[in-house]
Amino acid sequence: MPTFLEFEKPIAELESKIEELRHLSDAGDINIAEEVGRLQAKADRLLRQTYGRLTPWQKTLVARHPERPHFSDYVQALMEDFTPLAGDRAFADDHAIVGGLGRFRDHSIVLIGHEKGQDTASRVAHNFGMARPEGYRKAQRLMELADRFRLPVITLVDTPGAYPGVDAEARGQAQAIARCIETCLRIRVPLVSAIIGEGGSGGAIALAAGNRVLMLEHAVYSVISPEGCASILWRSADQAKEAAEALKLTADDLLRLGVIDDVVPEPLGGAHRARAQTINALGDALEAALRELKEGDPATLRSRRREKFLEMGEGRLS
């Protein structure tokens, strides 16, 4: 049973009507077939209209859609011989961040990303993609491993943010994130990051200080969630829509601001409507980015990445 977002309801209604008519049209009634065609055209038009001008808040909802492809879906479709590696070698293995070795279209790589989970049980197991310090320390360890064996790193970012908990703070959440960003910026191998869903604040940038930062068309990436921003600046989470507008968190905005390098288009109706197609499109974009970077020598890869981030906020855009 697919999940429909509030603003998708008119489309959902049309589609269920079409479904009903199709069941009736077994006899090959010409009138019903015509009606189905008419409704289908209407539904397509509506879908195109709706998705052609999603508001920042609607994009936030699409980015959080439960049926959107998650880390494990990308692994399944794009990786061969994926070998997950566990643990931070200090405290535990965090399931909110998954990482390991594998082959991606003939490149041996290290793949790291947030996993949100697909059903209630796995969402709880992955803590909804909200990592604790051991998650960032695992990511750091795997990036250092990649650096040592000269393997490119791909990170897939999809998190509401770092986990806000007593245990996470006690074990140094801030320090773990800081070290993880520092490691992104220090390694001498290609680092390609993609924001595939929600790019939530410090928990996201921890994995996203890459040579290339790609972003799916309807993904969002922000310093704070629209709800969090609204509750602070508007003193009410009800103003999340306004906050989403103000924060400039869409892929187009971020491309204009020079924070990301490329937007990967999603199929009509969003990634959740055509998962395989989305995964392949991102795969192609990741591969193209890797090919470009593979030629670079280690020192240049590192220094270019640092120069890029050093410039952010210098005021290139007004």
């Binding site: 806000p164 703070e169 070290r179 940038i205 103000a246 050093l310 906020g313």
Partner: protein, 310 residues
């Protein structure tokens, strides 16, 4: 009646007024509740003489207490686009900025200074909590880069003193990008083999704690300072339980291995001088060379002299 009205009442009012308006002269310690005479409080670097509670201290006063003879020079922050997102909540960000600039007489929430500490040339970048809660936007990030490069140019240690609620939300994603940006800045100091010391003061939270602030070669913290990533209220909302005693305080971080030393403010200068000498100046300096006044001019900004008074 008239006797009471004309004579006693004014006197009573005078008495009442004295206890009502002591705000300027007396300050109440938020920890022990004692009233402290302002001059005593200032002389004590805004540490309560009764209970040792550390109140927030002005950033210029902070600079003055650290440098030799309270003398230092300032580095101007590099110019940035003041409002890259044209951000507007209930108020325009550009108006909020202007207000903060007018109130503090500063450009943004970071002050970069250089001078000598114990005779050794040192660069200090300190956050101004009075400026939009010390939040980190592009100007602060740019200031940290300028401070780091000045330290490298002067072959001097860099001390950074955060007092910040975190990222400057009104600069959106660009404020988040100041996390990697500031980390690269301090990494340049580390790569030059120079000490990078942080003094965590109240508060050091959010995107500031999760970037340069937690990466010091040495991490000092002021007693009682709130230091952490997530806000206490957010955590309470998530875990739905009372937070442990002293949670996210400097001492808690030290006990959990995140901070080297909790140092009281009156001892901060001497502690820093000692650490810098041990790390950076193996031999005690015999002759104290005055810092070159134009040293900063080659880097990202112009120096302006300061008499070190607030």
């Amino acid at each position: 009646m008239s006797w009471l009205n004309n004579f006693v009442r004014p006197k009573l009012q005078a008495l009442v007024r004295k206890t009502e308006v002591p705000d300027n002269l007396w300050e109440k310690c938020p920890s022990c509740g004692q009233m402290i005479f302002h001059r005593e409080l200032e002389a004590n670097l805004r540490v309560c003489p009764h209970c040792g509670h550390h109140m927030r201290i002005g950033v210029l006063r902070r600079m003055e207490m650290l440098f030799d003879d309270g003398r230092y020079q300032r580095l101007e922050l590099p110019r940035t686009d003041p409002d890259p997102l044209k951000f507007r909540d209930q108020k325009r960000y550009s108006d909020r900025l202007r207000e903060a600039q007018g109130r503090t007489n500063e450009q943004d929430a970071l002050i970069v200074a250089h001078g000598t500490m114990g005779g050794a040339q040192t660069v200090v970048a300190a956050f101004n909590f009075a400026f939009m809660a010390g939040s980190m936007g592009s100007a602060v990030g740019g200031g940290l880069i300028a401070a780091a490069r000045l330290a490298v140019a002067q072959q001097a240690p860099l001390i950074v003193i955060p007092a910040s609620g975190g990222a400057r939300m009104q600069e959106g994603i660009l404020s988040l990008m100041q996390m990697p940006r500031s980390i690269i800045a301090i990494d340049e100091v580390k790569e030059a083999g120079l000490p990078y010391i942080v003094v965590l003061t109240d508060p050091t939270t959010g995107g500031v704690s999760a970037s340069f602030a937690m990466l010091g070669d040495i991490a000092l913290a002021e007693p009682g300072a709130v230091i952490g990533f997530a806000g206490a209220r957010v955590i309470e909302g998530t875990v739905r339980e009372k937070l442990p005693e002293g949670f996210q305080r400097a001492e808690y971080l030290r006990d959990h291995g995140m901070v080297d030393i909790v140092v009281s403010r009156p001892e901060l200068r001497q502690t820093l001088i000692r650490i810098i000498r041990l790390l950076h100046n193996p031999q005690p300096p015999a002759v104290v060379e005055p810092p070159a006044t134009t040293a900063a001019e080659a880097f990202n900004g112009r120096s302006r002299p300061s008499n070190g008074s607030e």
